[in-house]
Symmetry: C2
């Protein structure tokens, strides 16, 4: 992030997460931050607004900006960001392995068009993969990619990282991801492919992903072992 407001955001975030500004304390005032970073107050305000939206601070009119981040907050699957399985593995320090179950092409039916949001009749590449965390099968990933935008997915690419392929090799930028969470009874495929232990249900994340042209190029269903899944978001009462 090379923008000034982004640098200020990251610097403050580091200090908050590092405990320099503990829970319930106040960060420096706008005027002080302006001087510190030698920039205009609008730029500072933009950084503070980001922190607010991510749930780290709470500005109080006439008083200051209070830190409301608790270090104890577990961040299993991050606070609302876009993250790949590999990134999550590194951050949470577990060994990540991906097994490709199937890989092939499909034509989008009318029913699937309604469910996925893909145009009816488009050619999509369907990938089904199992994610292992420290040797246990924890996630069943079902991805569909618009073949026109993400061509030539090989078993090798699928086993490594499709996102690395998309962003690296293809040079496409992933921008927006809309996600829906729900819980479902386990199906036969879940029971057969995942190490569910005593559980007979899964946490499901349905995902619509857009590139920087605003075109939806991916539809995904991730079916998670319930014990190894949680997701955190922040909601604000007023729009900012």
């Amino acid at each position: 992030m090379k923008a000034v407001y982004g640098q200020i955001y990251e610097a403050l975030l580091d200090q908050i997460q590092g405990g320099d500004y503990p829970y319930q304390s106040f960060i420096p005032s706008e005027a002080e931050l302006c001087e510190l970073y030698a920039c205009s107050h609008n730029t500072v305000r933009r950084a503070v607004r980001l922190l607010t939206q991510e749930g780290y601070v709470q500005p109080i009119n006439g008083k200051g900006v209070r830190v409301i981040y608790l270090p104890s907050e577990r961040e299993d699957f991050s606070m609302g960001g876009i993250e790949t399985f590999k990134e999550a593995a590194r951050r949470n320090n577990f060994e990540a392995v991906t097994k490709v179950v199937s890989l092939g092409h499909e034509m989008v039916s009318k029913a699937f068009a309604l469910e996925s949001g893909f145009p009816e009749g488009s050619d999509v590449t369907h990938v089904e993969r199992v994610r292992l965390m420290d040797g246990r099968a924890r996630i069943l990933d079902r991805n569909w990619y618009l073949t026109g935008l993400v061509p030539d997915i090989t078993p090798e690419v699928a086993a490594d990282s499709i996102y690395a392929y998309i962003e690296g090799t293809l040079g496409m930028r992933v921008t927006t991801s809309k996600r829906t969470f729900l819980a479902e009874k386990a199906r036969r495929a879940d029971r057969e492919l995942l190490d569910l232990g005593g559980y007979d249900f899964v946490a499901v994340v349905v995902n619509h992903t857009f590139n920087d042209d605003g075109v939806m190029f991916e539809y995904t269903q991730s079916r998670h072992h319930p014990e190894h899944f949680s997701f955190t978001t922040v909601a604000l009462r007023d729009q900012r």
Copy 2:
């Protein structure tokens, strides 16, 4: 929302949801919106940024701002906003009834302090309620309120709307809400109090709520019937 940027946000949102700017179309350019609303481009940009963050549009540098909202998106429990049970009931058009199961005071133990984020030793009011949608018990709500900030919760208040009491009678403003979503096996209380049908698990939302002073005054566990729960959020790859 009386701020100019908020009015522009709402006007554009209406038009997008109403189909005036369909999926994949472009909204008017900054310059056109400036003229239309007789305001500066920074004000327009702020409104557009809100729409972007909520997942309605995608700005493309040099081209325009593309709509990426699909009308088919179901919005069961809203797109990341803060909403009360009553508001959700009205929006989704079901009959909402609340039954108070228990109501009393507790002192925050060391273990509960760690789980909830309340200071150890504080006095909290504990409310347990069942939410009925069209006559069926669908949600088990367990709330804890800092008694110092939310005093005198009566059974009548709990059966009506605690939020209405907090925001109306007490005049406290609810600002930030941090939520964690997960799925759990049903416990005895879930089975006894909810109409779970053939399900033996629940979707759980853990909630930390802050007022406009940045003080956490509420901790909640909402345990939902899996079939009547879904939650949608938007994630952006880059901070804005």
